[in-house]
């Protein structure tokens, strides 16, 4: 039987209340949200480093925290592996000393060093190894304790952009093989989508939406989730229009957009950059939404280019950008289909 981590926390933070309940089986769940959304507090409460005002933390049949019954196990009695944001490796111990620090059985240490490819660094101090290596040491150290639950606090934020992508792919594979309840927090949706089976968007202490990364992108529940998953948001008021479509009259007189979704009143039109195509003049195809505006910026991303056109961002292949001869300041037409224009309630 799969053992489940369950927690339900309620705790007052500086400007809002943290109120989060979650069940995690043998899977990786990511909580993603802007900094200051209460992500680290959740991890600390599960690990026993922060005592919430009210809450329950259970692993299988074990109760780690139940404020109503006065149960609050100290961190050393919860079988939790916590990987800190800056890794928190002990500077006075070498890699071996760090990994062996909490080992329940010293025989697992050499095997862990090999598994995380840090065997050759056993005698190095944390200050002498790279960021990616430090992360692997921190993970090995957490696992040496043979925890029931793994918690990772912003596992990629301490890395430079260059190593980040490689480490992310590695970490994804590693976590997928782990088969234990794993909770990670990050401010980056792409990191969350790569690493986790389920992603929860956390804003001001509450999970706005929880689902697979694909679900969040396909049907974000509100404009915040949409913008967090990378969508363009255009605000306007929706009215029933011709052909059963909804017409959204954009604010500040930028024209109208059309959507197949039904809505009335003030809404946000969410459209993902990869659903937007660019052309020199309005194309005669199935896309009904066209925005004419000058190119504000061009940012190459490997084989893609992110192009800012007026109020929206389009993502096109590098070869298309070259074929169109896109240059800053030139007027182009950004087009997307009415079926790609999601209509979302604006945040209250």
């Amino acid at each position: 039987m799969e053992t489940v981590l369950h927690f339900d926390l309620d705790h007052g933070l500086r400007t809002f209340r943290l109120s989060v309940a979650l069940e995690i089986g043998a899977e990786t769940v990511a909580l993603v949200g802007p900094s200051g959304a209460g992500k680290s507090s959740i991890l600390r409460a599960v690990a026993g480093l922060l005592r919430p005002e009210r809450g329950v933390v259970r692993y299988g049949a074990e109760t780690w925290l139940d404020t109503a019954r006065g149960v609050d196990l100290p961190p050393e009695r919860r079988r939790v592996g916590l990987v800190f944001q800056e890794y928190a490796l002990f500077p006075h111990l070498d890699v071996l000393g760090n990994v062996a620090f909490g080992a329940t059985d010293r025989r697992v240490v050499p095997e862990l060093l090999e598994r995380l490819r840090i065997g050759s660094l056993a005698r190095a101090r944390p200050s002498e190894i790279s960021g990616g290596e430090r992360q692997r040491v921190a993970i090995a150290r957490a696992l040496a304790r043979e925890p029931d639950v793994l918690l990772l606090d912003e596992p990629l934020s301490a890395l430079d952009a260059h190593t980040r992508v490689a480490v992310r792919a590695e970490l994804h594979e590693f976590l997928a093989d782990l088969r234990m309840p794993t909770l990670l927090v990050t401010h980056d949706f792409e990191d969350a989508a790569t690493l986790a089976d389920r992603v929860g968007v956390l804003v001001e202490g509450r999970i706005l939406q929880l689902g697979s990364p694909e679900e969040l992108v396909a049907s974000p529940s509100n404009s915040f989730v949409a913008s967090f998953t990378g969508a363009n948001l255009l605000v306007g008021s929706a009215v029933a229009g011709r052909d059963g479509l909804t017409e959204v009259v954009l604010e500040n007189g930028a024209g109208s957009l059309w959507s197949t979704a039904a809505a009335t009143g003030r809404v946000a039109v969410a459209v993902y950059p990869w659903e937007v195509s660019l052309s020199r003049k309005a194309p005669d195809d199935s896309a009904v939404n066209h925005l004419r505006a000058p190119v504000a910026s061009l940012v190459p991303l490997g084989n893609r280019v992110r192009v800012r056109v007026g109020p929206i961002t389009a993502e096109v292949t590098a070869s298309s950008a070259a074929r169109l001869g896109l240059r800053e300041g030139e007027v182009v037409v950004a087009s997307f289909k009415a079926t790609g224009a999601r209509l979302l309630p604006l945040d209250a």
């Binding site: 600390r44 690990a47 026993g48 480093l49 100290p74 961190p75 050393e76 919860r78 939790v80 592996g81 916590l82 800190f84 800056e86 928190a88 002990f90 500077p91 006075h92 620090f101 909490g102 329940t104 050759s120 660094l121 005698r123 190095a124 101090r125 200050s127 002498e128 190894i129 150290r141 957490a142 040496a144 304790r145």
Partner: protein
């Protein structure tokens, strides 16, 4: 750079201050011939004083470290109401005139003092014994250690302590394996400062322990006793104290530097094995 009147003033004031501070120390050595130094240091008074100083200061340092370390850890890691007041109590001996410390110790532990009766029934006499020297030194020197130790424990990254706890180490093991080793540089520096203060202790000791040769007469007290009997002996003992104090101060300054240096050396030494 053009010499401004302000710059000239700064340099002049600094030169005057340093000259004033160094002159008495230089004078001790220039007023003393090598023979006088040797005779002074081998005199009975000096030998007895050195022995008393060593014995009492070692015990006092052991007490300061044994009780001051946990006190400092508590003050550094807990936040509670009245903490500032406790810190003030710990620091009080720093500003208390030593004579007041001496009279206070006498009022507390003297035969007619607050706890005098208690100790008398136990058959322990404190005032004017070696125990009195130890208590006087402990009283005046402890804040030098505890203050530095609180700062050293406060500078230990709280994430490291948290990491230790999540790795299964209880508060005691976390203290021994994480906080203590990481604070050790600061603790060493604090101990050296306290030791230097203890070596120079005079006022509280003479009031509470007297100046009995071979029993309570420390090096500082011997300087005072000898200066109108045998001035050269007083100078010789003074020279010894100058050297000892300078060594202790240098140790206190070098411990943090040396620790940083030793870690950076190990970096260069093991770097090749890392790249392999």
């Amino acid at each position: 750079m053009r010499a401004t009147p302000f710059g000239v003033g700064l340099v002049a004031a600094t030169a005057l201050s340093l000259g004033f501070l160094l002159l008495p120390i230089v004078a001790i050595f220039t007023e003393l011939s090598l023979t006088e130094l040797r005779d002074g240091l081998t005199s009975d008074v000096a030998r007895d004083a050195l022995r008393v100083t060593a014995e009492t200061n070692l015990v006092a340092m052991a007490l300061i470290i044994a009780f001051g370390t946990p006190t400092a850890y508590l003050l550094a890691t807990r936040r509670f109401r009245g903490r500032a007041l406790l810190v003030t109590v710990v620091e009080l001996p720093l500003v208390l005139p030593p004579a007041v410390a001496g009279i206070g110790l006498l009022a507390a532990f003297g035969r007619l003092g607050l706890l005098g009766g208690t100790f008398e029934t136990l058959g322990v006499e404190i005032a004017f014994t070696k125990i009195a020297v130890i208590l006087a030194v402990t009283f005046v020197a402890s804040p030098f250690y505890v203050r530095t130790a609180v700062a050293a424990f406060e500078s230990v990254d709280s994430d490291l302590v948290a990491a230790s706890r999540t790795l299964g180490a209880g508060p005691g093991r976390t203290f021994a394996r994480v906080a203590l080793p990481l604070a050790s540089g600061g603790l060493g520096a604090g101990a050296a400062l306290a030791f230097a203060r203890g070596l120079g202790e005079f006022g509280a000791t003479i009031m509470f322990a007297g100046s009995l040769q071979g029993v309570t007469q420390t090096l500082s007290l011997a300087v005072y006793q000898e200066f109108d009997v045998a001035f050269a002996n007083a100078l010789a003992i003074g020279a010894l104290l100058v050297v000892a104090s300078a060594l202790v101060l240098l140790t206190a300054k070098l411990i943090p530097v040396w620790r940083r240096f030793s870690t950076s050396t190990s970096t260069t030494v093991s770097a090749p094995s890392v790249s392999r």
